[in-house]
Symmetry: C2
Subunit: 320 residues, 2 copies
């Protein structure tokens, strides 16, 4: 099986690459990213491809011969809001260009599109399902929703065999804060564990819909392996997540790392973040995803322990 990952130098991409290389059926793994990368493993099947997907050549070379394409590359939510044109190009045009390259290849590859809960926004029902209408309140969410429509129509037409998987906010992300509006969600856990202060721009009562990195990667791979028939007419799936409030997150942090850690979380306003994040739903009915075999995390303490275990195991997976 020949596999390609875009955004493969990012945090989830590296973990995904590592998990895929542990599978003996993978013959070739192209890990593509716009930024320079270090290889996740010393493995002859691994090919690093640095380049910009805004070029058709790069898209064609990624799609060339691929049986499965994981399209993770994106302009994150905060940047897509601050720089509209960069978001349209990096999120919408890039997805279309890659789908076109896959179509031109004529192999009808599996195309796993990393979508996001950011497609949703008010007015929201109490519980979001796969039948809830999208109302993106950020350009990132709008661009992801358009990507889902592209993936669905390219699949319906037989150009690719696509799956658009809406990821919850992934927590705990290692490394440094980034330009995602959700960056603080990992920051309020990761930074205090390093003895650093972290700013929480939303209130204690705010609930979030979270996935651990381990479950996110397992669900991306599961999504690639699912037969098309199982998905029926609908190529879009809300992945399982865990509903956790900020207060519960900080309480779990305190149980794991003590009050000196939880005391490092400071509350303050960030209207730009709040405007985006406050519209995201936190309660989902993911019965369909579970019946399709996608995996659900346990309680939030396990998220923190997964992060600590990963960090202890070595930073190779978690840094470029």
């Amino acid at each position: 099986m020949n596999i390609a990952i875009t955004g493969g130098g990012g945090f989830l991409g590296r973990r995904l690459a590592k998990a895929l290389l542990e599978n003996g059926r993978v013959e070739r793994l192209v890990v593509a990213d716009v930024a320079p990368m270090r290889p996740v493993a010393d493995d002859s099947r691994l090919v690093l491809a640095q380049g910009d997907l805004s070029s058709g050549d790069m898209a064609a070379s990624i799609a060339d011969g691929a049986d499965v394409i994981f399209h993770l590359a994106a302009v994150v939510s905060g940047r897509a809001e601050a720089e509209f044109d960069a978001g349209m190009s990096g999120n919408l045009d890039t997805t279309r260009r890659l789908l076109e390259a896959a179509r031109a290849g004529g192999r009808r590859p599996r195309f796993v599109f990393a979508s996001s809960l950011a497609v949703f926004g008010p007015p929201l029902p109490e519980v979001v399902t796969d039948e809830t209408a999208v109302h993106p309140q950020s350009s990132y969410g709008a661009q992801k929703a358009m990507g889902e429509l592209l993936v669905s129509d390219y699949s319906r037409r037989g150009f690719v065999d696509g799956r658009a998987l809406r990821l919850p906010t992934v927590c705990v992300r290692p490394g440094s804060p980034n330009a995602a509006a959700s960056s603080f969600v990992s920051g309020i856990i990761r930074e205090p564990l390093k003895g650093k202060r972290a700013l929480c721009p939303v209130g204690r009562d705010m609930e979030l819909w979270l996935s651990s990195p381990g479950a996110a990667v397992a669900n991306l791979i599961h999504g690639a392996l699912l037969p098309a028939d199982a998905l029926g007419r609908c190529r879009v799936v809300n992945l399982p997540g865990t509903t956790v409030s900020i207060a519960e997150m900080i309480a779990a942090l305190e149980r794991v790392a003590g009050p000196q850690a939880s005391a490092l979380v400071e509350f303050g306003d960030d209207p730009a973040v709040l405007r985006i994040v406050s519209g995201w739903p936190a309660r989902f009915d993911v019965e369909r995803a579970l019946s399709l075999g996608f995996r659900r995390d346990g309680g939030f303490e396990a998220f923190i322990r997964e992060y600590l275990a990963d960090e202890a195991a070595g930073a190779g997976v978690t840094q470029r």
Copy 2:
């Protein structure tokens, strides 16, 4: 008020132009179309602009100085299904280009986007509302759904003041059959009224969601005049329609024009049409649209009488 209409040479565009010119507040009306046009009226405010919206210059000239843009130009459903690239270009790229031109103009014009019930498809609830998730089963529907997301996000960002109005199938269209999958819906009324046979590619029990041309034009204008506040966060509205079965349509035809007319409707298969049309919903809850002041038609006999009256009044409105 300066107004522009794309697809202004088409059937709805011409009626819309005529209705707008009856309004004294209109100072300038640019009617744009890719095909040559005859003017709908001898009116110094009317400017005909023939050209292809795939050129940025054409988009810029349409947006230039416009207070209101009605974007009706589209590649119809049957053609967008048969020619995927033409549909992507004519429906998605053109809409984006026009939105960009409006954004560049910096005047934040009202932007009325003619969307369609074709954004919907199975799985469908019993009754479709503005909160029903879209599942396009045609490329036309997917392209319209992406256009809605563009209009919504460009509005949220303040680039335009947009409204995406989902039109029911408009019936009775005058003129000749076209490449829309719904072309037969008008054909089975119009052709028998001319003494010609018409093929119905769907069964008698099939229900459709219809608007008369008069209500469609009135609702496009109403949509342009609505204050943005009335729409709230959601720029997309399912316009009112009438649920009618094929059998009811033919019975109304018989009441208006006698059994010699209804006998001219023949039933036969057209899998390409059936595949697209059978997924369209016919039952909507349009409480929101009605509360916003959009207009609803009466029974189907009135649709036929409107067509006959329009034809009697002269073909000037109904032909290019």
